[in-house]
Structure formats: C-alpha cells, structure tokens
C-alpha cells in the first residue's frame, strides 16, 4: 500500500501518481480536506482509499478502478464514469454519478439533488435519501434508493430503472410507477450483490420508469406546432 498525504503532496502530484501507477496498485490518500477533482481520470484497475471528506468532482471519468471515500463527497462525484466502483461512506452532494456510462456508485449516507442526472448506464445505490430532480433525463442504468426520494423524481426519464424503498415526494414529467416483475427483482438482486449490499428486503422496493410518452413523437400532436 502506498500512502499519499495532502500535507506533503499537491493535488496534481497525487492525481499524476494515481494515473501513472501500475495495475493493481493500492493507494491510501490522507488529509484530503475537501480538495476538488481528486482521483479523476484513472483508466486502470487500481484501488484507492481516501481517508476524509472530498470536494467537487471526486473520481470523475473513472474507468476500471475501485475508489472508496471514508467521509463525504461534494458535488459531481463520479461524473461521467465509465466503469469501476465508487463507494462513499458518508453523504454526497449534488449530481452524483451525472451522465455515468457504467460501473457502480454506492453511497451509504444521503445523496443531494439531481443524483444520477442524465445517467447512461451506471448503477447508483443510495442507502439514505436522494434530493429533488434525481434521475433527471436518465437514459440507462439503475438508481436504487433505500430511503426517500425528493420532488420530481425521474423527470423526462428515458430508459433507466429507479427502485425506491421509501417515500417518493413526487414524480417528474413522464415518470410513472411500474410493475415489479420477477425479472426486475432479479436485476435488483444482481445490482445490489455486485455492490456487496445484502441487508435489504426486496419486497419493500417499488419500481419507477418512463411512460415513454415524452420522447416518442405522437403524430396527433403535429398540429400543435
């Protein structure tokens, strides 16, 4: 294990070391003190443990690597990630997992507004609550919420799945509750077991998704224009 300490190294040095490291390396990052853009742009399978809270854009564009934050994360966690796993033990701020293409994000605390905005294949699991406008324009992937969801959940959603165990304050435009089929129960099981989450009751989850009336052009509406 290599220790990288913000009290001794600059953000740039730390990110360079992570990006240029050998495959399967293991790093422990100390004293991040809310720094921005930590562990961004990694494109090999390494393991990074961050001890403390981070600021904006942590683990952005992640590919292959496993990144764990023992603390909370600021806005834009794992933005546009491609693959790999991100695990935050505390809370995350706005737009976690925005436009993520793949991989998984596990948040043990709460996520703020716009969680999974425009997600394109990433799986996001939030053990607490999510804020308003989560999964806004979500295209693909899964957002699993153990707690409650804020207003306008899944507004203008395309083909992502949202699973919620708690209350939903309100649904956004074109987002509806859908039947929890055997296939979806099995999918939910896979998503959670991939993230090593086992303490849950699948029967408590409801499924939400697109009514598909907003993004399919309806010829009857042609005269409106």
């Amino acid at each position: 294990m290599h220790i990288l300490d913000f009290n001794k190294l600059s953000l740039r040095d730390i990110n360079k070391t992570l990006q240029e490291s050998d495959k399967n390396s293991f790093f422990s990052i100390r004293n991040p003190k809310g720094s921005h853009a930590l562990a961004v742009g990694i494109n090999k399978k390494i393991t990074v443990k961050v001890v403390g809270s981070v600021g904006y854009y942590c683990a952005g564009m992640n590919k292959f690597s496993d990144i764990k934050v023992e603390g909370s994360a600021g806005p834009g966690l794992g933005e546009n990630m491609m693959s790999g796993n991100i695990h935050v033990t505390g809370d995350v701020s706005q737009y976690a997992g925005a436009s993520g293409h793949g991989g998984s994000i596990l948040v043990e605390g709460n996520a703020s507004s716009r969680c999974g905005i425009s997600m394109k294949g990433v799986d996001i699991i939030v053990k607490g609550n999510v804020g308003h406008m989560s999964a806004f324009m979500a295209q693909k992937g899964n957002l699993v919420i153990f707690g409650d969801a804020g207003h306008a959940l899944g507004d203008s959603i395309y083909e992502a799945n949202i699973y919620v165990a708690g209350e939903v304050a309100s649904l956004g435009a074109d987002c509806i509750e859908k039947k929890m089929t055997k296939k979806h129960l099995s999918d939910l099981g896979h998503i959670l077991s991939n993230a090593n989450v086992s303490d849950y009751n699948p029967d408590t989850f409801r499924r939400f998704g697109s009514a598909r009336s907003l993004y399919n052009f309806n010829v009857d509406n042609a005269k409106i224009y």
Binding site: G34, S35, G55, G74, P75, H132
Partner: protein, 298 residues
C-alpha cells in the same frame, strides 16, 4: 460563483478566536471569489451604545475631517477607531440618528456600511487574504460573524458592491447566486422609498428583506416571502444581533454545507471552508435543504 462562510460560537473558546477562524475560512474560499471580500463581525455590546461603521474613499483626509467635525459638536460624545478604509464610531444610542444624518448630509465621500449595537461590517476590493489582513480581522472577537468572497457577475467590482450588505440595524446579508428580477424589484422598492447605492442584485435582496421587516415581518417571514418574490439562484446567509439564518432557493444549485459541534455552528459554501475549524472531523455535517429557512440564535 462567490463563497460564503459563517461561524456561530456556542462557547468562549470559539468567540475569543472568532476572527482567526473566520479569516482562515474566508481565505479558503479565495478561488470562489477573488475580486473582493467582506465580513460582518458581531462583537462586544456596550450598554446604551451603538456602533456606526463608515467607509471612506480617501480615509486619511475624510476621517480626520469627520473626527474634527464630530468633536466640534459638544453634545456628542464618541470614540473613533480607524481600521484602514473603515472607521467604527461608538456613541450613545440616543445620538445615533443625529450622527448618521450629519454624516449623510455633510460627507458625500463617506458611506455608512452598518449601524448596530454589535455588528461591524468590513469589506473591500482585493483578494480575501489581503482584505482580512487590511482590517486585522484575526484580532477580532465576537459571538458570531459571516463573510463573503465575491466573483462579480452582473455589476462592477467596487467596495460598495462587495458583501455583506446591511439590511437594518445589526442585520446583514451575503449572497451567492444571481437574481434575474432585481431591476423590477429595485424599482418597486424605490417606489416604497428604499434607496440604493449600487446596481448590484444582492443589494436588492438585502433591501427587500429590510423593507419586509420594516413592515412588521419577522426575519423568518421576510425570508419566506423572498422565496415567492425573488427569481433566480441564491444561497443567502443573513446575520442578526443574535445569530444567523440560511436560505437556499428551491432549485438549490448554489452549494452550502453546515457543520455543528457542541462548540459552534459553521456555514461554508464548500466543506473546504470548514476544515480549519477545531474538531471538524467529529462535527455533524450536512447540506441545508432547498427552500427551507434555518436559524441559529443565542
């Protein structure tokens, strides 16, 4: 962008070092607001005394003239302390209106930044580190304080365009965001005899809250009516004689983090602003909810 910080002391160890903590917090928000910075410090209160904070364009001449002018008025007893471009005049509360009127009528180069039993406002153009050094904020003590680092978006970088804006005696406001209906609101407030120093949108928000409170609303009610009347993005922190309040717009794009320990409540635009505070790793840290008024008071 802009950065906001706030610190509310629950224990003496924090209030004795309020200026030190606020200086570090403000400096940490330099890259959110490098063009100007300011603080409102709620310091010691003196029985039946009021403090007037005045800002001068050319402090050397203007303050000398003001001091001479006030000394010539035998009925006014006052103390006069200069902090760089600002001066704090301490006087009997009964003479407050007379002196503020005298300053406004006689000294066009002076601006009254604040009036209050506890509050002093210090704000200036420049990097946050320069501003806290200029006013020696680190030496100041107090029960609470709020600060702002500005990255100007819609009006000029000037001392008066810097935050905090006074919203009444012992009251002030700092703002991160931008308002889109400030011109129409300003015209409406001007018709109701409110006056403005700048073209700044945040000054309109401050004036709006002052106007509502002058009309008999509580701070909470005034902030709740801001949710209805103000269009745009905002995170506000509002200082009062007893504490501070926080309000975010319903969309809540502008960041905000709160932290609480048995010793203090702290506000920061980012977690970075809080990392210099004692025992922050053990604090309860959370994001204030959108469209919800929070308040801590002594």
């Amino acid at each position: 962008m802009c950065g906001i910080v706030g610190l509310f002391a629950k224990k003496e160890n924090i209030s004795d070092n309020l200026g030190v903590h606020l200086s570090k917090m403000l400096e940490s928000m330099s890259d959110r607001g490098p063009d100007s910075a300011g603080l409102a410090i709620y310091g010691k209160q003196f029985a039946s005394k009021t403090k007037i904070t005045v800002q001068a364009r050319s402090p050397k001449n203007d303050f000398q003239k003001l001091k001479k002018f006030l000394s010539a008025k035998k009925e006014i007893s006052f103390s006069f302390k200069i902090h760089s471009t600002h001066a704090v005049i301490k006087l009997d509360v009964k003479q407050k209106d007379q002196v503020t009127n005298l300053i406004n009528d006689t000294f066009p180069n002076l601006r009254i930044l604040s009036v209050g039993k506890k509050m002093e406002i210090y704000k200036e153009v420049g990097k946050p580190a320069e501003v806290v050094k200029r006013f020696q904020i680190a030496k100041m003590k107090g029960t609470h304080g709020i600060g702002h680092t500005r990255m100007a978006t819609e009006s000029a970088v000037t001392t008066l365009g810097a935050h905090p804006f006074s919203t009444g005696e012992d009251q002030c406001l700092v703002h991160n965001g931008s308002l889109s209906n400030h011109n129409s609101l300003r015209r409406e407030l001007m018709r109701n005899e409110m006056t403005f120093e700048t073209e700044n949108d945040s000054e309109v928000a401050a004036s709006f809250i002052t106007y509502r409170m002058n009309s008999g609303k509580t701070l909470k009610e005034a902030l709740e009516s801001a949710l209805v009347e103000l269009d745009g993005f905002y995170t506000f922190v509002v200082g009062t004689e007893n504490g501070f309040g926080v309000l975010r717009d319903p969309i809540a794009c502008k960041p905000a983090v709160l932290a609480e320990t048995p010793d203090y409540v702290a506000f920061g635009s980012e977690y970075r602003a809080l990392t210099s505070l004692p025992k922050i790793e053990k604090a309860k840290v959370w994001e204030p909810e959108p469209a919800t008024v929070y308040f801590w008071g002594h």
